[in-house]
């Protein structure tokens, strides 16, 4: 490890420093500074959303413009705790945008948007998710994961007087802490077998052949760790919490937790599996990479199939999006299973496919949830059947939700098409044609339930059709900008974003 240089190490955590400053500013604005400033009055707390969003999005843009890692500066920083590379930056940018957009779409949400602590807790969770995407040490990995999830437990149960919200918080907490304990046991075993906590040092130790006695303990640790990650990305069979938490939590929180914690966990999962168990790790004649790739492929198949089939039967739109997000985790896992291809160039393409998919998924899912927030604040319902006639009540909202759903379904020109295309292409390149076929069949099933919602909005007759739904100007702008981003990501934005992700993938795989 190089000598510690404070100034050279700073860029590696520049976005996190921005987030800490944001959190302190928010706290000061909300509760005031003794003897200096009394804090915002209750009626003006909504302005904090703008402060949060502006600060997070500025942090993202400045990090890309000023602190983008170059091949010379890529490497381990802060005593090997953080790896500074393009992949981490791509994920940090999407997480920061997710936080910023969530703050904006939370403004008018009853009991959430006018509370200063909501923005503060969300910024702390964003901080954890940013740290996850660069974590390169078991200790850092664990602390960052908990920094993301503990605030999310609070956020899920944020509406204390709403029974559904507190129930969602409790379920998330119980399942989440159980999953972290299992993950942690796996990490402790991994530490024991290698005597190291740095991911890259563990890989070096394992591939040096020093640990050659028996592959079984390492595989057991790997399985425990995959169970823990499976919970975080809500892959079947570790998905129990997802529908209940998504339905009960305040909608802006659902939006945030469906994208930020998922994106962070996928970044970490990729880094962990590819850094600690690359193809060179062979224990007792067994290639560990084949083992985890098979396991991940199996998780992908069950997650996609289960998520899509159960989503068909849902009547509540938030619950439907929960099952859809389980299925989306399944599609993304296809890419991870495809990384094991022996040729490193196709491996890099698979990593880039996952990154692109998470990038477009972040914007698409937030867009869908933005519409649901406006709709349920105006009408007080989240049932799909109540969306009937939305195209007459509010044509813009219907159009925006249509774009989001088509993107989730993978219909061009929305971004989802290329997301799925890259993932399935990676699977074919890695000789996993069967996995790609399962994915395509599942996309057809998924298309059905997304189209049903669109049909309900445009064709079905609703009982309140003469009552238009008002959209405040803030929501109009946010929904407009994000839907333009979703369409751009699927047209002219594909090449630059994919190239950026590919650069990140090369940095991760060292090719």
């Amino acid at each position: 490890m190089n000598e510690f240089n404070f100034l050279q190490s700073l860029p590696a955590i520049a976005p996190e420093i921005g987030l800490v400053i944001t959190a302190i500013v928010l706290l000061a604005l909300d509760s005031g500074v003794p003897f200096v400033y009394a804090g915002l009055p209750e009626s003006r707390r909504k302005g904090l959303a703008l402060v949060t969003a502006a600060s997070l999005i500025m942090t993202a843009l400045v990090s890309v413009a000023v602190w983008s890692p170059t091949p010379e500066t890529t490497g381990l920083y802060w005593g090997g705790m953080i790896r500074y590379d393009v992949l981490a930056l791509v994920f940090k940018v999407m997480i920061l945008f997710a936080g910023g957009i969530t703050a904006l779409i939370a403004v008018d949400s009853e009991g959430v948007g006018n509370k200063g602590e909501f923005y503060l807790i969300m910024v702390v969770s964003t901080l954890g998710a940013c740290l996850i995407s660069g974590a390169a040490d078991l200790i850092m990995l664990f602390v960052a994961l908990e920094t993301t999830t503990i605030p999310l437990y609070v956020l899920a149960g944020f509406k204390r007087n709403d029974n559904r919200s507190s129930e969602s918080g409790m379920k998330y907490f119980l399942f989440g802490s159980f999953a972290s304990a299992i993950l942690l046991y796996g990490l402790s075993l991994l530490y024991g077998f290698s005597g190291q906590t740095n991911l890259y040092a563990i890989a070096e130790y394992l591939s040096s052949g020093a640990f050659s006695a028996n592959a079984f303990p390492v595989l057991a640790a790997l399985v425990l760790i995959l169970v823990g990650f499976g919970f975080k990305i809500s892959a079947v069979p570790f998905h129990f919490w997802t529908p209940d938490v998504y339905e009960g939590a305040p909608t802006p929180v659902t939006a945030f937790l469906s994208v930020a914690s998922k994106a962070g966990s996928f970044a970490l999962l990729m880094r962990f599996l590819l850094a600690v168990f690359p193809a060179s790790v062979v224990i007792n004649g067994q290639e560990i990479q084949n083992f985890w790739a098979t396991l991940v492929a199996a998780l992908a198949v069950v997650s996609m199939t289960f998520g899509n089939v159960v989503a068909l039967a849902q009547r509540n739109v938030k619950r439907l999006l929960a099952y859809s997000s389980i299925a989306q985790a399944g599609y993304t896992l296809i890419g991870l299973a495809a990384v094991q291809a022996t040729a490193t160039s196709t491996g890099a393409e698979a990593v880039a496919a996952i990154t692109y998919y998470m990038f477009m998924y972040t914007f698409t899912n937030l867009l869908a949830f933005a519409v649901i927030i406006v709709f349920s604040e105006a009408t007080g319902t989240e049932q799909i059947s109540d969306l009937a006639g939305l195209s007459r009540r509010s044509p813009w909202m219907a159009l925006v939700l249509t774009i989001a759903l088509l993107s989730l379904a993978g219909v061009p020109p929305a971004a989802g098409f290329f997301g799925k295309f890259f993932l399935f292409n990676a699977a074919v390149q890695a000789n996993l044609v069967w996995l790609a076929i399962v994915g395509v069949l599942n996309s057809i099933v998924a298309l059905f339930y997304y189209l049903v919602i669109i049909k309900v909005m445009y064709v079905d007759k609703g009982k309140d059709e003469d009552k238009p739904i008002p959209i405040s100007r803030a929501y109009l702008y946010v929904m407009g900008v994000v839907s333009v981003i979703v369409v751009l990501l699927g047209t002219i934005g594909v090449q630059p974003i994919f190239d950026w992700a590919l650069q990140g993938a090369r940095a991760l795989l060292n090719v």
């Binding site: 503990i150 507190s166 379920k171 119980l174 159980f178 046991y185 990490l187 529908p243 209940d244």
Partner: protein
């Protein structure tokens, strides 16, 4: 000196008891206690591995310290959520908390 594998067996046993508690108990506070048991098993593992394998390298002990800190934070948040559930329903039994299902 006590060999390393004995510590590992104890840790595995404590961990298994914790898992059983989480799956079998119906009271949210008891589930929380079982999770704490699982975390203690992790700490036994970490400290034993550190002492026997790499006593010159502090990372195992540091890891254990972080597990303590995070477990405390987790318990604080968890108990707060359980109290808010208890205030509205007068029960912390997981089966009574069943508004959301499908």
């Amino acid at each position: 000196m006590i060999p390393l594998w004995m510590y590992l067996i104890v840790a595995a046993a404590v961990f298994a008891i914790g898992v059983y508690g989480v799956l079998a108990r119906r009271n949210a506070v008891a589930i929380l206690m079982s999770v704490e048991l699982m975390l203690s098993a992790v700490n036994i593992n970490l400290v034993a591995f550190w002492r026997y394998l790499t006593p010159q390298n502090m990372s195992g002990q540091v890891f254990a310290a972080f597990v303590f800190v995070v477990a405390a934070a987790e318990a604080a948040v968890g108990l707060a959520i359980v109290i808010s559930i208890y205030r509205s329903r007068r029960s912390v039994v997981v089966e009574d908390v069943n508004l959301l299902k499908g």
